[in-house]
């Protein structure tokens, strides 16, 4: 059996994650009142992406786990962004 050491997160880190998620949720609501044209979507996606990053890094323990999981996760996100980029090659120039 594997004797890998399990990382146990502290309450403080959980509370900090919760706080960050609440602040960013408030921010994503707040930016809807700003008129930024097509950049509204971009800003909303950035905030949502940051929230997902916080959840993945601390709450889901990517920061403390074997680096291979982080590498695969980043690779998948890069692939997803590339697919979005190629899709918007159509929408941006129509």
């Amino acid at each position: 059996m594997s004797e890998e050491k399990q990382h146990i997160s502290s309450y403080t880190s959980h509370i900090l994650v919760l706080g960050a998620l609440l602040v960013l949720t408030a921010a994503s609501v707040a930016v809807t009142s700003l008129e930024m044209g097509k950049y509204n979507t971009l800003v909303a996606m950035l905030i949502a992406g940051t929230k997902a990053g916080i959840v993945l890094t601390w709450f889901m323990h990517l920061k403390f786990d074997n680096k291979i999981f982080a590498i695969f996760t980043v690779a998948v996100i890069v692939l997803f962004l590339l697919v979005l980029y190629v899709t918007f090659f159509d929408y941006s120039y129509r």
Binding site: V76, L79, L82, V83, V86, T87, F89, D90, Y91, S92, Y93, R94
Partner: protein, 535 residues
């Protein structure tokens, strides 16, 4: 004690587990039995879809109404496409030969998650039943297997179960992909480094990542179409502010990589067969591995070539055309390596070799016609014509179908412990190959002449090509019947064999018993050299 030893030495076919009879199969978590369950299911549905295809070709043997009207024809090509794509070629080689041989080829006793593996098959069956329910209630769907918006939520036919069934089938694919990735990462035998792994597992690995990452896109797209149809959410519907081209983007973001889900494991199987029947080390092992990964990666970015006439922006057209030409390179690398492997080899002309070599032939025709379609100028002229049907079948049927048959004839003695009749197998291949070319080659000409696809009728000038093509379809079905009857009959009555290595292979599956025992290995093998080391 003696019972335990006996059960260890009994083949997986004869092993008596917790359940007997049919339950011993449909509740078995043994990866080999799960692989065979997929094989039998696919055999049944392939037969149904092939008959639908034959009926369409009989309809097209003469202009006008021959045996069916336009609505029936539309339903025929829809159901033919849905069954062939979602039930046969997408699960295809990974589900059958991946399940059966991946653990054996990497020296493991089973896949990483055996129960999940069986669950994948059950989800597959549930998906099939949901798809089939569309045939019996409210009229067959008539959208084509692509379910294009806005027609898919406007048609009065029963398209909902077909959409939902395809959505369910996607889960089976994802779970199989996860199982294979974990199995390959965690369960390789001692000494089997990444670059000592045979090429079939390598292609399964590349495929599994596409299954995991691309399938959710089609899942959510089909679900959105269901919501569009039921709730009118307005994502794709232009009358509600939606964008039907967005549907095409999302559909092809999955469905183009899905072509590589279909073809990559086939390429892996061919890469196993050619060195064995050439008695030569595979030429450019690492190039084949890297080109498999390159195909899997670049294959994500070429989906737009299905949409050249849909109304995309000009810059997107150039980008997709360029990327399409790029993805041809790793495929060409593989073909070069296969030919180089055979060059100056000691060729052994057996049935698997015939299928493998004819695979290269038809795949090349499919590949080159793909470049014709990937080129913007020619695409405009042949888009949605029979040229596309010919190209598609040369790649998907010629690629996946031929490699599937090559793999089945190659691994058959190991799977069943019996040998098929080689004379009938070779005859079946020859008739099938002749029929295949007679069926699909004229379609290139018909497409160049301007005959559109998905029409039950045509102008008189297309008659000659259609007669030849329809006769080819009949010939090909005769060939398929010879092949399938020979294999099915031989599974029961074929010459028994317990020879471990009838072809002289160098990979691990040829070191285990024929047929393999329940857990494949008494002691896990140790791997000390790369595969295909023919001296």
């Amino acid at each position: 004690m003696s019972e335990t030893i006996t059960s260890k030495h009994v083949s997986f076919l004869e092993h008596k587990g917790k359940y007997k009879g049919l339950l011993g199969w449909i509740l078995s978590t043994d990866h080999k039995r799960v692989g065979l369950l997929y094989l039998y299911t696919m055999l049944v549905f392939f037969s149904i879809a092939a008959i639908l295809g034959l009926l369409m070709k009989i309809q097209l043997i003469a202009p006008g109404y021959t045996i069916m009207g336009p609505q029936t024809y539309n339903s025929m090509f829809t159901v033919h496409g849905i069954i062939m794509i979602f039930i046969i070629v997408v699960p295809g080689l990974p589900a059958v030969f991946g399940n059966f041989f991946l653990p054996i080829m990497i020296g493991a006793k089973d896949v990483a998650f055996p129960k999940l593996n069986l669950a994948s098959w059950w989800i597959y069956i549930i998906g099939i039943l949901v798809v089939l329910s569309s045939q019996f209630v409210g009229g067959w769907p008539d959208t084509g297997w692509t379910f294009y918006a806005p027609y898919s939520f406007r048609t009065p036919t029963n398209v909902l179960p077909a959409l939902f069934g395809a959505f369910i089938l996607g889960f089976s694919s994802i779970l199989t992909g996860i199982n294979f990735v974990v199995t390959i990462h965690r369960m390789r035998a001692p000494g089997m480094t990444w670059f000592r792994m045979p090429l079939f597992p390598w292609t399964l690995y590349a495929t599994a990542w596409i299954q995991i990452l691309a399938t959710p896109v089609i899942g959510i797209t089909l679900l959105l179409t269901v919501m569009e149809r039921v709730l009118g959410v307005g994502v794709f519907d232009p009358t509600l502010g939606g964008d039907p081209i967005l549907y095409q983007h999302l559909f092809w973001i999955y469905s183009h990589p899905a072509v590589y889900i279909m073809i990559l494991p086939g390429m892996g199987a061919i890469s196993e067969i050619l060195p064995v029947f050439s008695r030569k080390r595979i030429y450019g092992y690492k190039a084949i591995v890297l080109s498999s990964l390159a195909i899997a990666f670049v294959g994500y970015f070429v989906w737009g070539h299905h949409m050249f006439t849909s109304g995309m922006s000009g810059r997107a057209l150039y980008a997709f055309s360029f990327l399409t030409f790029i993805v041809a390179i790793p495929s060409a690398i593989k073909v070069f390596n296969w030919v180089a492997t055979m060059h100056k080899g000691s060729l052994n002309f057996q049935t698997p070799f015939y299928w493998a070599v004819s695979f290269i032939f038809v795949f090349m025709i499919g590949g080159f016609s793909g470049l014709t379609l990937g080129s913007l100028a020619t695409n405009v002229h042949v888009h949605d014509t029979h040229f596309v049907v010919a190209h598609f079948h040369f790649i998907v049927f010629g690629g996946t179908g031929y490699s599937f048959m090559a793999a089945l004839h190659y691994w058959y003695p190991k799977m069943f412990g019996r040998m098929y009749d080689r004379g009938w197998a070779n005859t079946g291949w020859a008739v099938f190959f002749g029929g295949f070319l007679t069926l699909y080659l004229p379609m290139f000409g018909l497409g160049m002449q301007g005959m559109p696809r998905r029409y039950y009728d045509y102008l008189p000038e297309f008659h000659t090509g259609n007669i030849i093509s329809s006769l080819g379809a009949i010939l090909m079905i005769v060939g398929a019947i010879i092949v399938i009857v020979n294999l099915v009959r031989s599974a029961r009555y074929g010459e028994k064999t317990s020879e471990k290595n009838p072809w002289g292979g160098k990979t691990l599956e040829w070191e285990t018993d024929t047929p393999p025992t329940l857990e494949n290995w008494e002691d896990l093998p140790t791997v000390e050299e790369r595969p295909y080391e023919y001296k």
